[in-house]
Amino acid sequence: MEFLLRQTYYNALESFASTNNVDIIFPQTDNAQETEDNESNLIPDDFENNEIFYKCKIRSVVPDTIGIRYGLAYYKWIVQCSIYTKAGITESLASYHADLLKEEFKFGAKKEASDTKYTYKFKQETNIRLASPIKVANFVALPCLFTVATVR
């Protein structure tokens, strides 16, 4: 289920990025070197010259048990897609792309994915939330998040 959800939403984000002609970094293709004191390494070298790119990741939240009677576990994920724009470019570019994201990923939207045994349904539980823009090296990142849950 974990794998299927990641696959489903990474694919959705990838097709969203290709529709808008923007590069996207996935956790598995992120080759930025992590160091504690060198900020410039937070952006992979290939993307240094980009005006705009996306960087996404999906994190799971600890499952919560719903209902003593049923003992069902309720799984949630946080899907994040940060919009990186070159520092100095006006903020309107990032907010334009945030609006596009909002159009694409809407509250209540359901997606299905199946493995050999089960079909899982995933539902978007929140609208896209924007966090404060963060300066990362030469870029400004605008984090956009939403939550996805499994539906029985």
Binding site: K55, V61, P143
Partner: protein, 128 residues
């Protein structure tokens, strides 16, 4: 048979206050525990406040042995109080959202995402 309705209501308010405090405590500890540690400054700088956020940073590398008393603040909370947990370390946002540390991220987001689950848990415990 008679029931003192006032006593029942008072008890209910007390239980709800306890549940609210427990929810705040669970959410805060989830957030603090999830925070990645290098020097410990980021983890130590989570500042609880009854009311709007008033972050106060603690640099553990200095000779500062002060710590924020999270449970102390929570134990003073009443039902109509607001509770906030904030962090003003300059790298807090980068750690939270932009994958700066392999040890963990999204600590506050994950904790707030679980708030309603914690509230259910706390109410179940206090409402017999």
């Amino acid at each position: 048979m008679s029931v003192d309705i006032n006593a029942v209501i008072a008890q209910m308010f007390e239980d709800t206050t306890d549940a609210y405090r427990l929810t705040c405590a669970l959410t805060s500890s989830e957030c603090v525990d999830e925070t990645p540690v290098l020097s410990g400054s980021l983890q130590a700088s989570w500042t609880p406040n009854a009311g709007p956020p008033k972050p106060e940073n603690i640099d553990t590398r200095g000779e500062n042995s002060k710590r924020h008393d999270i449970s102390g603040v929570i134990n003073e909370l009443e039902l109509d109080d607001e509770y906030s947990l904030s962090n003003a370390q300059p790298y807090a946002l980068i750690t939270e959202f932009e994958n700066h540390s392999a040890k963990g991220d999204l600590m506050l987001t994950k904790a707030t995402e679980r708030f309603s689950a914690f509230a259910d848990q706390a109410m179940k415990k206090h409402m017999k």
